[in-house]
C-alpha cells in the first residue's frame, strides 16, 4: 500500500463507490489515517488530504449526477471525521469555495454539500471572511423550506454555528442576512427544528440591527403564538407544548422594537377562549414589559389594564388569576421609573376597583382585595397610595357592620396590609393622610369580642404591629393575654402563647417580667384549673431559651411538690409536648436532664395508674434519646441493675423505656438471666402493657445488639418459643408467645439478620396453625406497622431500607402455598398488611393483589370483608385495568353486600360504588339501572351516615352517561 498509495486509493474508491456501506467505512478509515498522519506528523507517508482530493477530482467532474453525488459524499464524510483543528485557513478557504460552487449543482447533491459545509464551519481555522459569502450563496441557491427535515436542520445548524462564532463578519451582510434567515424559517413546522430556531433567535435579534425587516422578523415568529401543539408521533415525544411556549416567549420580546407588534398580539390573544392562550399571553406580558421599558408600553397602558382587570376580577380560574397578578406586578415595576405615570396608573386601578371594595359582603370584594394587596407589595410609594384609599373604607365598614363574618374579612384585609407595611418598616399612622387613624386602639378595643375567629385575627394583627405599639398599649395587650390564658378557650390560649413568643424578639425584658410576676406568681397556692392553664402557657413559651431557663426549673419543682395527680399529669403532658418539638433554639432535653434532674424525679414518682406510667416512660425515652453518649452511659450505670433482679413488673416498664433509646455502642451486658427475665415478662405477665413493653424492649435489644451475641440469644429464644407453642399449653400463652415471635421477627428482618428469612417463613407457616392461625393473621401487620414508634432510627435502631417491601412481597408470593381452609387466615394477614403499606408499592402489584381482594370479598368473615373494602376503595382510584376487567363479578357482589348487617360495610360499599362511577362510561353504563334501583332502596337506610354515602353514590351514578356529565380524565 505504501509503494503506490495513489493508485491503490483510486482502486479502492472505485470498488467502494459501487457499495454505499463500503464507502462509509472507507471514509472512516481515511479519516482515521489522516488523524494518525497528524499525530505522527506525516511520517508514514500514507494518504494525504490533497492526494485524496486529487483522486476524487475525476468523480467530481463526472457527467453523471449520481457519481458526482458520491464524490461529494466521500469528501464530506472525510471532513466530518477530521479533528476540528486539522485543516489550515487556506485549505478551508479552498474547500469553502468548492462547496459554494457545488451548491449551484443538481438538487440531489445538496444534502451531501450541506454535510460538508456543516463540517467546515465547525473547523477552528474557518476563515473569517468566508462566512458571509457562504451564507449568501446558500440563501440564493438552497431553498430551505423545499428541503427535507434533516437538511433543514443542517441549514439551521450551519446558521447557528456561524452566528455563534463569526458574528462580526456576518454583520457586513446587513439586511440580506436577516432576510435570508426569515425566508429560511418561514413556514417551518417541525417541533425540534423550531425549538432549535427559538434557541438561536433571541441572541441573533439582539446582536443584529433588523432595520426595515423588524416587522417581518416578528411576524415570522409570532405566527406560532400561542403555541398549539399536540405531540402525536413517537419522534416528537421529547418536545412538549410547554417547551415550545417557553422558548418562543423570549424571541417575541427580544428587543424593545418588537413592542408595537407584541403588545397588540398579547391583548388580542388574552381575549381568546383558550385557556393556554390566556396563560401564554399573560406570561409573555410579564416577561416582555421588562425588556420593552416604559416608553414603549406607555401608550398601551389603558388597554393592558382592561385586559388584566378582567382576569383578576372576578378571577374564577386561580391559575390565570395568578398569572395576571404576576403580569400586573411586573408591569408596575417597569413603570415605576416615571412617578407620574405610575401614580396615574395606580389611580386608574383604584378608581376601577373602589366600588368592589365598598361592601365586604359582595363577591367581588375578595378579588379586589387580592389585587390591591399584590400591588401594594411592590414598593412603599404604591403601598401608601393604596392605603390612603383602602384604610378609610375598611375602618368605616368595620365600625358600621354588625355581622361577625364581615368584621373578620375586614380585619383580615387590615392584617394583610399591615404585614406589607411592616415589611417596609412603617405603620398606617405614619402616612400623613392617615394620621387620624388609631389602628392599635381599634384592635385593643375589639379584644373584648366573643367570637373566637375574630379575636384570634385581632391578636394576630397586634402581633404584626408589635413594633408600633407604645408602652401603654403593650401593657393593655399583656393584660388581655393573661386574662385569655386564665379564661379563654383552647384556640385562643394557643394564639396567646404564640403572641408571647413573637413579642420576645422585641421586648424580651418585658416578657421575662411578665413571666416572673404574672404567670409564675403564687404558683403554690393557686386553684387547680387556673394552675393547669398557667402550666400550659408556661411550657408552651419555654421553647425560647431565655424563658425556658426561668420556667423549666419551676415547673419541674411542681412535679416533686404537688400532691395533686391532676396537676402532675398536666405538667407531664406539657413537658412531653415541649420535648416532642422538632426544633427549638436550645437543647431542652439536656437542660431538663442536667439542670432539672428530671429523670431521677420521674423514676422516684410512685403511681399505679397505667396511663401515667406510660406517660412517664415516654418522656424518659424522649429525653434519653437526645442525650450524649456519656450521659446515656451514666444513666445505664445508675439504673441497669433493675433489669437483672426480679423487681416488681410495673417498675420495670419505665426502666425499659429508659433504655430503649440508647446508642448502639452502649453495652447492657445482656446475660441469659436477663433475657429469661424479659422473655417471661413478655409472654407470661398478666398485664397487657407490661407484655407489650417487654416485647418491644426485647426487640429493640435484638435489633441493636452485636452480631456475636445475637446468635446465642436468638437460638435461646427460639427454643423458648417452641416450648411454649407445644401442644398442651394454654391458648392465651400461645397467643402471647406468637405476639413476641412477631416482634422478634420484626427486629431481625429490620436489621437484615442473616437468618431473618428463616424466621419470616416460620411465622408465615403459623398461619396454618389451627388454634392460633387467625390470631397470627390479625397480628401479622405488626411486622410493617406504620405507627411504629419504638423500632425507629431515632432510637438508634438498625432499619434496612425496603424491609417493608420484602415482607409484603414475600407474603404475596406465598399465595400458592395456602389452599382451601387455610386461605382465610392468609387473606386476613394480607388484607391487614395492605393498611400498613405505602400506596406506591400496592400500585406496583395491583394485578396480583386485586384478585385476592375480590376473593376476600366472597368469604363470610365479616371483619375480613370490612378490611378488604377499606383497601379496595383506596385502590379503585387508580382505575387500573384489573378493576375494569373484573367489573362483572365485583359490582354484583357489592350490591349483594350493600344490605350487610354492619354499618361500616354498607358505607364502604357505597363509597366503592361512588368510585366506580368515575370509570369509563362504556364499561359501567350496563350496570347503571341496576345500581340506581338498588341505591334507591338504600337511600332510606335507617342510619344517616349510610344514607349520606348512598346519596353521594346515587347522584353520581345518575350522571353516568347522561348529558352534562363532566369529562373523565
Amino acid at each position: 500500500m505504501a509503494s503506490s498509495p495513489n493508485f491503490d486509493l483510486k482502486e479502492r474508491l472505485d470498488i467502494s463507490f459501487k457499495d454505499t456501506t463500503a464507502l462509509n467505512s472507507l471514509c472512516r478509515n481515511i479519516a482515521s489515517e489522516q488523524t494518525k498522519c497528524f499525530v505522527l506528523e506525516i511520517k508514514s507517508g500514507s494518504i494525504k488530504l490533497y492526494t485524496f482530493v486529487e483522486t476524487l477530482g475525476s468523480y467530481m467532474t463526472d457527467q453523471n449526477v449520481l457519481t458526482r453525488e458520491k464524490g461529494v459524499t466521500a469528501l464530506s464524510s472525510v471532513l466530518l471525521q477530521l479533528p476540528q483543528d486539522y485543516l489550515t485557513e487556506s485549505e478551508l478557504y479552498f474547500i469553502t469555495t468548492f462547496y459554494c460552487n457545488r451548491m449551484k449543482d443538481h438538487y440531489s447533491i445538496i444534502p451531501s454539500v450541506l454535510n460538508g459545509i456543516q463540517a467546515t464551519v465547525n473547523m477552528i481555522h474557518f476563515p473569517q471572511n468566508a462566512s458571509s459569502s457562504l451564507l449568501r450563496v446558500m440563501f440564493e441557491h438552497v431553498q430551505c423550506q423545499s428541503q427535507l427535515l434533516p437538511e433543514r436542520r443542517k441549514i439551521y445548524l450551519i446558521i447557528k454555528s456561524l452566528i455563534e462564532t463569526r458574528l462580526n463578519d456576518l454583520k457586513s451582510m446587513g439586511p440580506d442576512l436577516v432576510y435570508g434567515i426569515i425566508s429560511s424559517m418561514d413556514g417551518e413546522r417541525d417541533p425540534n427544528n423550531l425549538l432549535l430556531l427559538f434557541n438561536i433567535l433571541p441572541h441573533f435579534i439582539k446582536s443584529f440591527p433588523l432595520g426595515h425587516l423588524t416587522e417581518e422578523m416578528f411576524e415570522v415568529m409570532a405566527c406560532y403564538f400561542p403555541v398549539d401543539f399536540n405531540p402525536s408521533g413517537i419522534e416528537d415525544l421529547n418536545v412538549t407544548r410547554e417547551d415550545l411556549a417557553e422558548k418562543l416567549a423570549p424571541c417575541l420580546c427580544a428587543v424593545p422594537e418588537f413592542a408595537e407588534y407584541c403588545l397588540p398580539i398579547i391583548i388580542d390573544k388574552s381575549y381568546s377562549t383558550l385557556r393556554v392562550a390566556k396563560l401564554d399571553s399573560l406570561n409573555l406580558l410579564r416577561e416582555s414589559v421588562k425588556i420593552f421599558g416604559l416608553s414603549k408600553i406607555e401608550s398601551y397602558l389603558p388597554d393592558l389594564w382592561t385586559t388584566l382587570k378582567k382576569e383578576v376580577i372576578p378571577g374564577r380560574d386561580v391559575e390565570i388569576r395568578d398569572a395576571a397578578l404576576q403580569a400586573i406586578t411586573s408591569l408596575i415595576k417597569v413603570i415605576t421609573v416615571d412617578e407620574t405615570v405610575c401614580k396615574n396608573f395606580i389611580d386608574k386601578i383604584i378608581v376601577d376597583v373602589k366600588s368592589s371594595l365598598c361592601d365586604v359582603q359582595f363577591s367581588l370584594y375578595r378579588p379586589a382585595q387580592t389585587l390591591l394587596e399584590t400591588i401594594a407589595a411592590i414598593n412603599k410609594t404604591i403601598c401608601v397610595q393604596i392605603l390612603q384609599m383602602v384604610i378609610p373604607l375598611c375602618i368605616g365598614q368595620y365600625s358600621t357592620k354588625n355581622s361577625l363574618n364581615d368584621k373578620i374579612a375586614l380585619i383580615e384585609t387590615l392584617n394583610n396590609l399591615m404585614k406589607i407595611c411592616s415589611y417596609y418598616d412603617f405603620c398606617f399612622q405614619d402616612v400623613p393622610e392617615l394620621s387620624w387613624t388609631n389602628i392599635p386602639q381599634t384592635y385593643l378595643d375589639s379584644l373584648t369580642v366573643e367570637n373566637i375567629e375574630l379575636k384570634s385575627k385581632i391578636f394576630f394583627g397586634l402581633t404584626i404591629q408589635k413594633a408600633h405599639l407604645n408602652n401603654v398599649q403593650r401593657s393593655i395587650l399583656y393584660n388581655a393575654i393573661c386574662n385569655e390564658i386564665e379564661t379563654g378557650c383552647d384556640k385562643i390560649q394557643i394564639i396567646c402563647h404564640t403572641t408571647i413568643i413573637d413579642f420576645t424578639t422585641l421586648y424580651l425584658e418585658e416578657i421575662i417580667m411578665l413571666v416572673k410576676e404574672r404567670l409564675l406568681s403564687n404558683i403554690d397556692e393557686m386553684e387547680i384549673e387556673l394552675l393547669k392553664r398557667r402550666i400550659k402557657a408556661l411550657s408552651a413559651i419555654a421553647k425560647i431559651r431565655e424563658l425556658g431557663c426561668i420556667i423549666l426549673p419551676k415547673i419541674v419543682t411542681v412535679l416533686t411538690d404537688t400532691v395533686n395527680t391532676d396537676i402532675y399529669i398536666t405538667v407531664l403532658l406539657n413537658i412531653q409536648k415541649l420535648i416532642a418539638l422538632k426544633k427549638s433554639d436550645y437543647n431542652i432535653h439536656q437542660f431538663l436532664y442536667k439542670e432539672c434532674h428530671i429523670i431521677d424525679k420521674l423514676i422516684l414518682y410512685e403511681t399505679n395508674t397505667v396511663d401515667h406510667k406510660m406517660l412517664i416512660s415516654n418522656i424518659c425515652q424522649l429525653i434519653v434519646r437526645n442525650l450524649t453518649i456519656e450521659e446515656q452511659r451514666a444513666i445505664v450505670a445508675k439504673y441497669a441493675v433493675a433489669l437483672d433482679t426480679k423487681i416488681p413488673a410495673t417498675d420495670v416498664t419505665i426502666m425499659m423505656n429508659l433504655f430503649t433509646s440508647l446508642r448502639k455502642d452502649i453495652d447492657l451486658n445482656l446475660n441469659n438471666n436477663m433475657v429469661e427475665n424479659l422473655y417471661n415478662l413478655a409472654t407470661s405477665n398478666c398485664n397487657l402493657n407490661t407484655r407489650q413493653t417487654s416485647c418491644k424492649f426485647l426487640s429493640v435489644l435484638l435489633n441493636k445488639i452485636k452480631v456475636s451475641d445475637l446468635d446465642r440469644i436468638v437460638s435461646y429464644l427460639e427454643n423458648k418459643i417452641n416450648n411454649n407453642l407445644s401442644a398442651d399449653n394454654d391458648i392465651k400463652l400461645k397467643q402471647h408467645t406468637v405476639n413476641f415471635q412477631i416482634w422478634m421477627t420484626k427486629a431481625l428482618v429490620m436489621r437484615g439478620y442473616a437468618k431473618s428469612q428463616y424466621f419470616l417463613e416460620n411465622l408465615t407457616l403459623l398461619l396454618t396453625h389451627d388454634e392460633i392461625g387467625q390470631f397470627v393473621g390479625k397480628q401479622y401487620q405488626i411486622l410493617v406497622s406504620k405507627s411504629e414508634d419504638i423500632l425507629i432510627t431515632e432510637n438508634f435502631c438498625d432499619v434496612k431500607i425496603f424491609y417493608k417491601q420484602r415482607v409484603f412481597e414475600y407474603l404475596l408470593r406465598q399465595n400458592i402455598n395456602f389452599t382451601s381452609t387455610m386461605r382465610q387466615n392468609y387473606l386476613i394477614a394480607l388484607v391487614h398488611l395492605l393498611e400498613q403499606m405505602p400506596e406506591e408499592l400496592l400500585f406496583l402489584h395491583l394485578t396480583e393483589l386485586v384478585p385476592l381482594l375480590i376473593e376476600s370479598l366472597s368469604l363470610s368473615n365479616e371483619y375480613l370483608v370490612l378490611w378488604t373494602l377499606m383497601s379496595f376503595k383506596l385502590l379503585l382510584d387508580t382505575k387500573h385495568d384489573v378493576f375494569s376487567d373484573n367489573l362483572q363479578c365485583v359490582i354484583p357482589r357489592l350490591m349483594q353486600l350493600s344490605t350487610h348487617r354492619i354499618m361500616g360495610v354498607r358505607i364502604a360499599i357505597l363509597e366503592c360504588l361512588t368510585h366506580y362511577a368515575n370509570y369509563p362510561t362504556i364499561l359501567i353504563n350496563p350496570y347503571k339501572q341496576t345500581v340506581l334501583n338498588k341505591l334507591g332502596v338504600i337511600i332510606d337506610d335507617r342510619k344517616r351516615l349510610v344514607r349520606k354515602a348512598a346519596v353521594n353514590a346515587r347522584t353520581r351514578w345518575y350522571l353516568v352517561g347522561a348529558s352534562g356529565e363532566q369529562s373523565k380524565e
Binding site: Q361, F362, Y365, D940, N952, T955, L959, S963, G964
Partner: protein, 156 residues
C-alpha cells in the same frame, strides 16, 4: 359570558361547618330520622347556573327554610332567589327538585317553592315547579337535563 350576567356582584354568605357525627349516628342499634339539616346537606352544594358558587354560599337555600316530617313522609323546601327578577329562579328550583328526586326515598312527597315575597313571578314559578307533568317533560329535554346535571355535579 361575564358581560351578560344579571347579577354581576352577588352577596356572599359563609358556609356552615360540616355536620358533626354524633355517638347515636355511629351506634348500629339507633335509627336516625330524616331532619332539615340532612335535606340541607343534600341540596347545599348544588351549583348556581351563573356563578361558580353554591346555592349555600349565595344563601339561596337555608336550613331554617326546610321542613321535614319523617312520619308523614313530607319534605317542604323554600328557596330565595338572589334578586327578585332573577330569570334563573325556575332553573334553580328545578335543580333542587331533581336533586331531591334522586336523593330522597320515593316515599316522600317533596314540595319546592320560592320563599314568599322574594320574587316577582313567584306564583308562576311555584306552579311550574309543583306540576309533575311539566317537571317530567323538562327532564326529557336533553339540553335542559345537561344544564341541570352540570348544576348537580359535585366539584372535587
Amino acid at each position: 359570558m361575564s358581560e351578560n350576567l344579571e347579577n354581576i356582584n352577588p352577596k356572599l354568605y359563609k358556609k356552615l361547618d360540616d355536620r358533626e357525627i354524633t355517638v347515636e349516628e355511629q351506634d348500629e342499634d339507633v335509627a336516625d330520622e330524616f331532619d332539615a339539616r340532612e335535606i340541607f346537606d343534600i341540596i347545599r352544594n348544588i351549583n348556581d347556573p351563573e356563578h361558580p358558587l353554591t346555592l349555600e354560599e349565595l344563601n339561596v337555600v337555608e336550613p331554617n327554610l326546610i321542613e321535614v316530617d319523617d312520619k308523614k313522609n313530607s319534605v317542604d323546601v323554600k328557596f330565595t332567589p338572589t334578586i327578585p327578577h332573577c330569570s334563573m329562579a325556575t332553573l334553580i328550583g328545578l335543580s333542587i327538585r331533581v336533586q331531591l328526586l334522586r336523593a330522597l326515598p320515593s316515599r316522600f312527597k317533596v314540595s319546592v317553592e320560592i320563599s314568599p315575597g322574594t320574587h316577582v313571578s313567584e306564583a308562576a314559578v311555584n306552579k311550574q315547579l309543583a306540576d309533575k307533568e311539566r317537571v317530567a317533560a323538562a327532564l326529557e329535554n336533553s339540553m335542559l337535563l345537561g344544564v341541570i346535571n352540570q348544576c348537580l355535579a359535585l366539584k372535587d
